[in-house]
């Protein structure tokens, strides 16, 4: 548990803000796929902490980034934090995406909506720590809903689908033409459940290993309350401790 200081809070979109936080203490090591639990002050209707995935971890600057989608009172209150404000976080929590050992592997990172957030940290980690060139496939309703594109482009090639066709291929991420042209060795995905299920269906049909990041509603975030469970081959397990990242062959999804 750390009291962290907000260094920046930037509106990236009418529905998203990017919070950057630092600490006087050296931050613990963090891995892509992990998340934090934020205690939200100044929001009387927000009782529980809010789980937010780690968007980026800057080791040199001792900084962690949280991409927050403003969907309820808690996340809207987070968007009102100002530089210099203190925010209490539990971090880092959960498991992480598995990192390939072979540099020549072609990894596809598919993000939809706020599910794009952990893909930035993962892409950076793959490139810097594993020497793997990531390919991003980002899906959104429209061009204006694509955020952090410049950051993604610094790390690898960025492919896009939009539902209205305003940029990239028209349709959903699974409609992108790359999927019929290139065979990836590994797929990582985070986003709305129907999107992740469609990605999982594609991965299974092509026999490509696939990891998904789940966002089941949770209370404690540390495996105590047993609220966020997912049905797996091992029975009900906590998404907060045994996830949020799962290989799809461990899940009981009807795909």
């Amino acid at each position: 548990m750390l009291d962290m200081k907000v260094t920046e809070n930037k509106d990236l979109h009418s529905n998203y803000c990017l919070l950057k936080l630092t600490s006087d203490e050296k931050l613990p090591e963090m891995l892509p796929g992990q998340f934090v639990q934020v205690q939200v002050d100044r929001s009387p209707t927000t009782f529980l902490r809010r789980p937010i995935s780690i968007n980026f971890y800057d080791k040199e600057k001792n900084e962690v980034w949280l991409l927050v989608q403003k969907i309820g009172d808690g996340t809207r209150a987070m968007a009102r934090y100002k530089p210099g404000d203190t925010m209490n976080l539990l971090l880092p929590l959960g498991n992480s995406f598995s990192i390939p050992g072979i540099k020549s592997e072609k990894s596809l990172l598919i993000g939809g909506g706020v599910g794009m957030a952990p893909m930035l940290f993962l892409g950076n980690y793959l490139k810097k720590e594993a020497g793997v060139e990531p390919t991003f496939l980002l899906g959104a309703r429209s061009q204006k809903d694509l955020i952090q594109l410049d950051d993604f482009r610094k790390l690898g090639s960025v492919l896009i689908t939009t539902e209205d066709g305003s940029i990239g291929d028209k349709g959903y991420v699974t409609d992108h033409h790359i999927l019929t042209k290139v065979r990836f060795h590994r797929i990582y995905t985070c986003g709305p459940k129907p999107m992740m299920m469609a990605v999982a269906r594609y991965a299974v049909s092509q026999s490509i290993p696939c990891e998904v990041s789940l966002e089941n509603t949770m209370a404690c975030g540390i495996g105590a309350c047993l609220c966020c469970v997912e049905q797996t081959t091992k029975g009900h397990v906590c998404v907060c401790t045994e996830g949020p990242v799962f290989n799809i062959d461990k899940l009981k999804w009807q795909i």
Partner: protein
Amino acid sequence: MADLRVNIGNLPLKNPVMTASGTFGYGTEYADFMDIERLGGIFVKGTTIEHREGNPYPRMAETPAGMLNAVGLQNKGADYFVDHIYPKIKDYNTHMIVNVSGSSIESYVECAEKIAALEQIPAIELNISCPNVKQGGMAFGVTCAGAAEVVRAVRKVYPKVLIVKLSPNVTDITEIAKAVETEGADAVSLINTLLGMAIDPMKRKPILSTITGGLSGPCVKPIALRMVWQTYKAVKIPIIGLGGISNWKDAVEFMLAGATAIQVGTYNFIDPTASVKIINGLNAYCDQFGFKSVSELTGALEV
């Protein structure tokens, strides 16, 4: 420095602050955040004789100043606890107390017998008040006859400290408390969660897979406090108070209302170190008001 020691029956606690079953795992989950050995005791997750997968997801709904849960006693069963969990937790320098649940008199008895054999578990908390399982659980805790029957049966096989956790979902909690006292319970803990419900108006569907669930958190505190006060006047055995305790002031209030000790529950999810802060706060409170022993607070409400 006040004397923080209290006794639950013949079980001495180093201080009155414990953590509530289902909110603190097996203690180990919190060891990264605090020194769990500072606690007076840890009530570990509800244990049943059989392995239980619990209720389907979704199991949780946030409410104003609280939450509803419908976990449904997910646990790997008493044998798993004995073989795999007990060895890891038995040497902690605090009391590990097992919350025992069942779906029939026989299953309560069988589970209590298995736990009784564990040398370093000095007490059990008999859960006759879980609102989230179809059979048993709360069914025993909402009638005097049911509560008496299960306590009588478990008392025969369980010689150590027997704490009975009471349900608030009753007309008069003092009648149930008296019934379990008569059957030989050493203490009562109250309250378990209040039966509640949450609806998603956009989907026109219940939020919980079970439709109803147990309400906990600061929102239930006034009800819990009132029930502790009423029960204090009705029974002679010690009361362990819980329900929405989030800081030392809440803990003091429960003790003034008649609790000998308290449990911190849902608030562990908000601040994993809340229980340690409460121990420190209780000590400071006693010093400030000249109480040499925290036990002087029990029932000291001036009315």
